[in-house]
């Protein structure tokens, strides 16, 4: 029994889908943000799996940069969340629908 690339990709796609699903159905901004992290990790699995299959280091390097980007994005993202929701009782994104049309 081997773990072929397809399995990794399958796992990665499922994780990606779950992240997307979470983002679509959860109202809590922080949880939504976590879901984005899940999606990024799905991409990471794909990168590493491909890199392993290709015997190429590029995928790992990409993962490294994704980590960096994720960290930076979280810093700013959470900063914005804090700035906006500091005075609100909860972090429900559905509350923000003042602008529309």
């Amino acid at each position: 029994m081997t773990v072929s690339l397809q399995w990794y990709i399958g796992l990665s796609v499922v994780l990606f889908g779950m992240g997307a699903l979470g983002l679509l159905i959860r109202r809590n901004v922080l949880v939504m943000y976590m879901c984005i992290e899940l999606m990024l990790n799905a991409a990471n699995i794909a990168f590493v799996a491909f890199a392993e299959k290709l015997n190429d280091i590029g995928g790992q390097a990409a993962v490294f940069f994704v980590l960096v980007v994720a960290a930076a994005e979280v810093v700013v993202g959470l900063g914005i969340v804090v700035a906006i929701f500091r005075r609100r009782p909860d972090t429900t994104v559905d509350d923000l629908h003042m602008m529309k049309g």
Binding site: L23, L24, I25, R27, V93, L96, H97, M99, K100, G101
Partner: protein, 697 residues
């Protein structure tokens, strides 16, 4: 040398920009001097370029095309901001800048005290820039920009005194007539681009074979339509007479010397194309000579000094097209240059008269002016003899060249041409006699005006003589303010240092008039007189450009333009003897025209029998247009407004608008403001894209 060529363009543009930005602050007369300097600098640059060109060997080396950047590039269309300096454009540029510089100088004096003094020079500089762009453009598109530019400036300048209803209306009229012509230009450009794939002159001439047959004829005729608009030929000529509503320097510069010759220039520039279609050439020649005749007949009857000159211009332009039509391009250019000299001079002289007469333009109210304004009268006489074709002035040779060629090509047209020559000598002599000789009639006229109420004087009982309104004054104060302005100006001329101290003596009659409490004619200030003198010299000696006698010591326009026109030589088929005979005929015709006019008009100034209203109203051309186009157009328009627009257009527009708006309202509901639904939209798009890719896989 190339940079000097660009400087020709750059200097008027710079002058325009400077005046646009600071003109109002510079004011009177600094703004005028700035504008004049810019154009004079352009003239110097032209001379430098000319010198550079002379230092080259005659032939192809004198044709330089230079582009600085790509102006427009769309698809296969690649238009460069290119100039083409060759002997033809150089000839044009020389007299355009030269005459423009003189007229700028003249305007400093003429426009003094006008409310929009600086604006006038803004337009004028822009005009010179556009005209040079037209002349120097290396492709049809640049020429077209110049073409539109001069048209726009012409429109602005005709309606410069737009408070005057006639001026505003004349501007509109010129605008519309020119648009009709421009339409032809545009279509011709499209046609030529379609056939040859390029708009640059060299490119077009290299692909001439693509324009043989009907396409070539169509292109020529369309370009000629444009030319009839710009150069006031049949059927688009009526605007030029109305254009005299503009200030007189404008009439001299734009509507006599430069812009109206643009049509002739265009024809000459496109001469290889013209040479491909014999029928088109015949059309050009016929329209030209008929216009010359019609214009001449109308000029015989006009009472407004400027209108006589305007119709004369139409007539002379007809001669130029006649020359173009018979393939005598050099003769056309020669006549154009000579005409620029003497017609410019005539207009400036007329302006001087109008200025001296305090905005009186009616010949019947002048008379005996030679005593009051000797320099004006003297220079005017030179121009008169020149245009009449009295040997050995410029007009004699220029018109002779055209007529000789016509005689060689189409003797029938020559007959019309020679009759027109008689008319030319006649109406100009009539003008001179009425204005400058005999007993003064102006005191009476001025008195009438002085007593008449102000509101009627500007619109006038006589529609031909609108008064000039300055400083925004209308009504009863108008007449007075012109007087005040004139006397003020007389003082200013002495003090400004631009006129020599001797200027005072010339203006002596003016002072006398002022003391009497009403104005009287006076000689114009130095800035206005100097251009008159310069132009008079040119009109006198302009003939040396192209003397019919071959010889090494004569300046030969023919050989100078040879690189451009090549084998289109003129007087090719005439023997020396027939040339002499024709020259004698021309002279006799000119002298008899003068004689007839002298006999008829020195004794009497009012001869309505000689001014049939059919001619006076320019062959009822305006009425005809009104009947044929204007009225049906009105009716169609009112029908369109009442029925088509309401029922069809509005219905369609409103329907489409409602549809769009409803679609917008519906789509708006999708923009809910909920971020998760936006994310859903993104996911939807992603799924759609993936589905498409699945189809492709």
């Amino acid at each position: 040398m190339v940079y000097a060529a660009w400087a020709m363009l750059a200097l008027p543009l710079l002058g325009f920009l400077v005046l646009l930005a600071f003109g109002r602050r510079l004011g009177d007369p600094v703004a005028g001097w700035v504008g004049t300097t810019a154009v004079a600098g352009s003239f110097v640059a032209t001379l430098v370029t000319f010198g550079g060109m002379l230092s080259r060997h005659a032939g192809g080396a004198r044709e330089i095309s230079h582009s600085i950047f790509t102006w427009i590039a769309v698809g296969g269309l690649d238009i460069k901001a290119a100039i083409l300096t060759d002997p033809l454009s150089m000839t044009m540029a020389l007299f355009v800048t030269g005459v423009s510089a003189l007229i700028h100088l003249y305007s400093i004096g003429y426009m003094k005290g006008d409310r929009d003094y600086s604006k006038f020079f803004v337009y004028l500089n822009l005009f010179v820039f556009s005209m040079l762009l037209l002349v120097l453009g290396g492709n049809l598109a640049i020429t077209f920009v110049g073409w539109e530019g001069v048209g726009l400036c012409s429109y602005w300048l005709i309606s410069f005194w737009f408070e005057r209803p006639t001026a505003a209306s004349a501007g509109k009229k010129a605008f519309v007539y020119n648009r009709i012509g421009d339409f032809g230009f545009l279509i011709a450009m499209f046609l030529i681009f379609e056939k040859t794939g390029t708009l640059s002159y060299s490119g077009i001439f290299a692909h001439l074979h693509a324009l043989s047959g009907a396409a070539g004829t169509a292109a020529v005729l369309l370009l000629f339509l444009a030319a009839t608009g710009k150069s006031a030929q049949i059927p688009l000529f009526p605007w030029l007479a109305d254009a005299m509503e503009g200030p007189t320097p404008v009439s001299a510069l734009i509507h006599a010397a430069t812009m109206v010759t643009a049509g002739v220039y265009l024809m000459c520039r496109m001469h290889p194309l013209l040479g491909m279609s014999h029928s088109a050439q015949l059309v050009v020649a016929t329209i030209g000579v008929v216009t010359a005749f019609v214009g001449g007949t109308i000029a015989c009857t006009q009472r407004d000094i400027k209108k006589v000159l305007a119709y004369s211009t139409i007539s002379q332009l007809g001669y130029m097209f006649l020359a173009v039509g018979v393939g005598a391009y050099v003769a056309a250019i020669f006549l154009m240059v000579a005409h620029a000299f003497y017609k410019g001079l005539l207009f400036l002289g007329a302006g001087s008269v109008i200025h001296g007469m305090h905005d009186e333009q009616d010949l019947r109210k002048m008379g005996g002016l030679a005593r009051f304004m000797p320099i004006t009268a003297g220079t005017f006489a030179v121009a008169w003899f020149a245009i009449a074709g009295v040997p050995p002035l410029a007009g004699f040779f220029a018109k002779g060249a055209v007529l000789d060629n016509t005689f060689a090509a189409y003797p029938v047209l020559w007959v019309i041409g020679i009759v027109t020559a008689l008319l030319t000598a006649y109406y100009l002599s009539r003008l001179f006699v009425l204005a400058f000789t005999g007993d003064p009639r102006f005191i009476e006229a001025v008195n009438t005006r002085w007593l008449s109420s102000g509101s009627t004087h500007s619109a006038g009982a006589d529609p031909d003589s609108g008064g000039r309104i300055t400083s925004g004054s209308a009504g009863a104060a108008g007449a007075f303010s012109t007087t005040g302005r004139a006397s003020e100006e007389a003082g200013a001329t002495g003090g400004s240092g631009m006129a020599t101290p001797g200027g005072g003596s010339v203006e002596e009659p003016h002072g006398q008039g002022s003391s009497h409490g009403y104005p009287s004619p006076h000689e114009s200030p130095k800035v206005m007189v100097i251009p008159l003198l310069v132009l008079a010299v040119l009109a006198l000696a302009g003939g040396v450009l192209e003397l019919p006698w071959h010889g090494p010591d004569t300046i030969r326009l023919l050989s100078w333009l040879h690189p451009v026109f090549g084998h289109y030589l003129y007087t090719a088929h005439l023997s020396i003897a027939s040339q002499w005979i024709l020259a004698v005929v021309d002279s006799l015709v000119a002298l008899s025209g003068i004689y007839i006019a002298w006999r008829l008009w020195t004794k009497a100034w009012d001869r309505p029998k000689l001014e049939p209203s059919f001619l006076f109203r320019s062959w009822f051309i305006n009425e005809a247009y009104d009947l044929l186009i204007g009225r049906p157009g009105d009716r169609l328009a009112s029908f369109t407004t009442a029925v088509v627009e309401v029922r069809v257009v509005d219905g369609a527009v409103n329907g489409a608008a409602a549809l769009t708006r409803n679609a917008g309202e519906a789509l708006r509901k999708l923009q809910t403001g909920f971020v998760r639904q936006y994310a859903l939209g993104i996911t939807l798009g992603m799924v759609a894209l993936l589905a498409w890719m699945l189809v492709r896989a």
